[in-house]
Symmetry: C2
Subunit: 362 residues, 2 copies
Amino acid sequence: MIRTAASRRHVLHLHHGYSTAGSCIVRAFRTSTVRLDQRAIVYSKNGDPSSVLSAVSFPDLPPPAPRTANVRFLLSPINPADINVIEGVYPSRPSPSTDLSSDASAVFVAGNEGVAEVLSVGNGITHLKEKDWVVMTKPQMGTWVSSRNVRIEDVLKVDSSGLSAAHAATLTVNSPTAYNMLHDVVQLKEGDWVVQNGANSAVGQAVIQIAASKGVRTINFIRDRQVRDNVESLKSHLKALGATHVATYDELSDRAFKATFASWTQGKDVQLGLNCVGGKTTTLMAGLLGENAHLVSYGAMSKDPLSLPTSLFIFKNLTCHGFWQTRWYDQKTLDERLQMMQTLTGLIRGGKACMILPMGVP
Amino acid sequence: MIRTAASRRHVLHLHHGYSTAGSCIVRAFRTSTVRLDQRAIVYSKNGDPSSVLSAVSFPDLPPPAPRTANVRFLLSPINPADINVIEGVYPSRPSPSTDLSSDASAVFVAGNEGVAEVLSVGNGITHLKEKDWVVMTKPQMGTWVSSRNVRIEDVLKVDSSGLSAAHAATLTVNSPTAYNMLHDVVQLKEGDWVVQNGANSAVGQAVIQIAASKGVRTINFIRDRQVRDNVESLKSHLKALGATHVATYDELSDRAFKATFASWTQGKDVQLGLNCVGGKTTTLMAGLLGENAHLVSYGAMSKDPLSLPTSLFIFKNLTCHGFWQTRWYDQKTLDERLQMMQTLTGLIRGGKACMILPMGVP
């Protein structure tokens, strides 16, 4: 009963409707409010997304079974990791679905994050009703889809008051990564410093805002831009979000930077570094950290390894960790996840974080 | 009153008397039992030891002041880090002494480790008597010296029964490094696995023995030798110490090694890796570690940085630490240091660790 309407163009041009600020922009598609065929972006084998993705259509969902709900996706971001999942190079994998293929072979529905509104609920559900917003609590649920049936334990209700759909759609990956890295490793106090690279990534911008909301000061590294104005514009943007200082990797690489850094921190040891880049500039950034500091890596956008002089570990007692929000979800209870969500939505409503400012930078 | 008898030859040829097994051998000099002039190996500026070290003579010590003791060194090892201290590239530095120079300018007495016997004690000392053995509890005390006056709080008494002077002289650096790395980071149980490189270093051999005494199994990596027999002889030596498996870095680099490793561990996750080498082979060794493992670095003999794919941190939750015995001493009470010493001497007396076996390898 399922029509396959595979088309590379469908995927690439369909429903581009939204992007947040930042160089690591959230590209999302919006399902039309005019009822069309239900559609899903699927793949049956891993590879280059432009080769392996296809759009399939499927009929309207049947009424939901007990303790499940039918939901309609409002916005589903494309995060960089989603591409890696489709390529098959990411440790998280979706479960295969046999409902959406024309020949009963398994396909994977792409997409990890998104906000959906409830269309209808099955018996046994009292805390969700039509029009409520929900986000996924389980990774790799498949969110690049018009609508789907979900189990009650796989979604969390989000109070939509004061939130845009864009806020809600981007609540489960980048903002909690920023929040948890700032809280789980080091007990930061007002006036403490944090250094980070990839500072204009979605996580980086959330780090700036969440840190600023606690009075924690940030030193933020970004790539250089060929056009000088663009660098200044990006610096202004990050400062408007709450960044204390912003410097480019070129500035970081300059011998004079240590003195600049010392004048900023006034000799106060920096206890936390956040890394999503790797490679040489991360080595330099790690050298800025103080005694007993922690370097937390959550990405490797340069694709270069993390390379650090052993002396930092031995003599400065550096500790290096990784952070993966997927593991955090695995280790936490539903209540803990709900509490995190409420903390983040509270920050958004208070204008403290996940604010989306105009960038002015291409 | 102090005669300077500077001579490069003095330092290089004087009193070579002892070496323990291992490639990272402990080279030590023995002060003669026939009373000669008191001598010290000193330097007034940092640099290549063969250029900056000199031997100075000084008169017999005056009677000890209250709460101090005069001690005569029996054996003082030369550890690799001692060279770095003299070069001025090590974070620990000795305090300058003005007693030993001919013109009252400051000199540094070299040497960090050693065993001394008590010659005489000042008033207020009841727990030490003549002929007792002591080791230093403070780094960089200056141990390459015939005799010196020490404050009571800067030495720990060692019960010499069942110990050789070589055992006692090497109690404060390498063995505690091995012991603490095996106990402070991961709670190892009988049957657990540890991987390490530089396995024939003094620390590495202590790791093998201390691990074996707890029923912890070790996979030990060593450099290749040009003469095949030497590799086999070294492997046999380490196995005689208690090593479960020994492999060369060449073997580690071979694609087939993963299968060998899996056959050894039977799929059991390795939770602890110990590194004193850095560079490419450490990257390979880190790849053998299981989920949530810890890699502890205590040296960088290759002088190459520790370079690790970020994915190990993010997806396998690897944590990287450093270990520095000097910091351990800084953070511990005298009682805790004494307890450590007693644990180690207990292992030695029980024939469990710090055993010195004939090497048969050049």
